[in-house]
């Protein structure tokens, strides 16, 4: 069981998740302090560790639209948050998969702050409202990156296998 600690609407951009003025900070170890920096209340709760790991951010459609900045993912991952959204913008989704941020897409999803949520393989259930929502599966190819433990590990394996564009065995 996990609790919804933050609820936001549609079209939440990476500028909101991780404002551009902190973009000179790149290391995943340093980005978490700026999560939702323009919302000083929530940012404060995160920074002072009042939000337990595994808590849920509930979002509407097109979460993470805008800039490709990966900090928008590493900043959330650093707090071990789980994102449940109605839909997600493409680059954000890829970055989340690559970095191992838990991201659940459920097109009909509805929840409010304080709701208790349970996640299973193919559905996410809001225990407070007693409603279940189907989860959209990741494309198989993307799931392979998740299963490898992220893109760094995935690419490292390919590299070690000699599976690069310049290697004759690959025949690209």
């Amino acid at each position: 069981m996990a609790k919804v600690v933050y609820s936001i609407g549609d079209d939440i951009s990476t500028d909101v998740i991780y404002p551009g003025r902190y973009m000179a900070t790149v290391l995943p170890t340093e980005t978490p302090q700026y999560a939702f920096a323009d919302d000083s209340a929530f940012n404060g709760q995160l920074k002072s560790k009042q939000i337990p790991p595994g808590s849920i951010i509930s979002a509407g459609a097109n979460f993470g639209c805008g800039s490709s900045r990966e900090q928008a993912v590493s900043t959330l991952k650093g707090h071990e948050l789980i994102i449940v959204a109605r839909s997600v913008a493409r680059i954000f989704m890829q970055n989340a998969i690559n970095l191992g941020l838990r991201l659940i897409v459920a097109p009909e999803w509805e929840a409010s702050v304080g709701d208790e949520v349970e996640v299973s393989e193919d559905q996410v259930t809001n225990r407070t409202t007693n409603r279940s929502f189907a989860i959209e599966r990741l494309p198989r190819a993307r799931q392979a990156i998740v299963d490898a433990g992220g893109l760094i590990a995935y690419t490292r394996k390919r590299l070690v296998e000699g599976s690069t564009v310049t290697s004759p065995s690959r025949g690209r």
């Binding site: 079209d11 951009s13 500028d15 551009g20 000179a24 323009d38 680059i91």
Partner: protein
């Protein structure tokens, strides 16, 4: 069933006869672009190689481009140190397509790449910037990726697990009325499709209006395709593309256009006639909150910005200079102009546009992203209103979450700067 342009490009890049939307491929990359966020790419690139016993080596240094543009000259010691680290990496790995902070060849990545001839029709271009979609203007399949994914491309030379996107065809006909142009077209289209209407899809532009459009205009519409969520915007290469690459980018080797099949499978087709289009404006705080400019005319503005990878090219600056020549920016309004590249800046100087703008009271700054992303120059005060030719108006985008950003064309921006309030440029500034 035939293939769309992007399907054809991806088939070639992955050595397949035919591909269709939904297929998963690993296409070879022809150009891999980053800006200051190369600092993170380098970090992830080294991480991939860690404990493998293999020496970190970029697969093909001639296919990597790094352009400093987001925070130039550096606004903080942190940025300066990131830039220093990147310069060292560039030298060590012999990356030749590197554009440092310079008055002769610097600028915004999405302007430097096309004008340097780095992008060609049929290329697969990836960039650690969401507006990499811009390069579809030259008939390439160009899309934004994150830093870790770029580190993977630097390592392998191909993009892993790319799902072939479905394509939306946009047919544009009609002549633009005076003071209306490509920016108004793309704002109108985003309003129609919504901010997520083309998510995970490609927008392929067709029609007589596109055929007649300059590469500069095509860069505007492909640039902002991502604001409808699109993976990429693309204009199939034609005579104009060839002309641009030869004359402007100095390309000498053969140019091979990739065209869609006549029976290509499009997910849907959207038709637009621009004959009756009014100047458009995107109101705070989403890019798809688009209206004819009249709807918000009279709104007081404290800052006008002309520039960015969307509208910082020579024709944009010419349009603004034409409106401001012999006039004056309103007393309560600040006007900032950021040419998109050093080359654009030099031409604007030669043609007297810079003098026109400066005499009217505008501040002309160095080429780069400037205030577009809210980290550098031109921050907004609490509650202030900005009118900008950039591409995003999200809350906090220009550095202040209490400020408001409206998006428009250079003509609307210039006319409004004179009036000190949002103004329809057709009414005479």
């Amino acid at each position: 069933m035939g293939m769309t342009v992007v399907e054809k490009i991806l088939a070639r890049a992955s050595g397949q006869q035919a591909v269709k939307a939904g297929d998963v491929l690993e296409p070879r990359v022809d150009l891999a672009m980053s800006h200051e966020n190369a600092a993170l790419v380098i970090n992830q690139f080294l991480e991939i190689h860690k404990d493998t016993g293999l020496e970190p080596k970029v697969w093909d240094p001639s296919k990597v481009a790094i352009i400093f543009d987001h925070r130039v000259p550096a606004e903080s010691p942190k940025t300066a140190t990131n830039q220093k680290k990147i310069r060292e990496f560039v030298a060590r790995h012999m990356i030749s397509k590197f554009h440092d902070i310079r008055g002769d060849r610097g600028g915004i990545c999405h302007q430097v790449l096309p004008e340097s001839g780095y992008v060609r029709p049929g290329y697969v271009v990836v960039g650690t910037d969401s507006h990499t979609t811009s390069h579809g203007a030259l008939g390439a399949f160009a899309f934004g990726i994150g830093a870790t994914e770029m580190a993977s491309v630097w390592t392998l030379g191909y993009a892993v697990n790319v799902v072939v996107p479905a394509t939306v065809k946009v047919e544009v006909s009609g002549d633009f009325p005076p003071m209306v142009g490509p920016k108004d077209l793309i704002l109108h289209l985003i309003g129609k499709l919504t901010a997520q209407g083309a998510n995970f899809r490609v927008i392929e532009f067709h029609g007589p209006t596109i055929s007649r459009m300059s590469t500069s205009g095509r860069l505007v519409i492909c640039n902002m395709s991502v604001e409808a969520g699109a993976t990429s915007g693309i204009v199939p290469a034609d005579a104009e593309t060839e002309l641009y690459l030869r004359e402007e980018a100095g390309v000498r080797d053969p140019i091979v256009p990739v065209l869609p099949d006549t029976d290509a499978a499009y997910e849907r087709t959207v038709t637009i006639n621009v004959g009756g289009l009014a100047p458009q404006i995107a109101c705070p705080h989403t890019v798809d909150n688009v209206h004819p400019v009249d709807r918000v005319a009279g709104k007081k503005i404290q800052q006008v910005v002309i520039g960015s990878c969307t509208n910082g090219r020579l024709d944009d600056i010419a349009a603004a200079a034409g409106i401001l020549r012999g006039k004056s920016v309103a007393a309560a309004t600040r006007m900032l102009v950021f040419p998109a590249s050093a080359r654009v800046y030099q031409r604007a100087l030669e043609r007297g546009y810079v003098a026109d703008l400066v005499r009217a009271g505008a501040v002309v700054m160095n080429p780069g992203c400037g205030p577009c992303l809210g980290v550098h120059e031109g921050a907004l005060g609490d509650g202030e209103v900005a009118l900008s030719t950039t591409n995003r108006n999200f809350k906090g985008r220009m550095g202040n979450p209490t400020a408001e950003v409206y998006l428009c064309s250079p003509a609307v921006a210039a006319a409004s700067a004179v009036a000190g309030e949002i103004t329809d440029p057709r009414k005479g500034a």
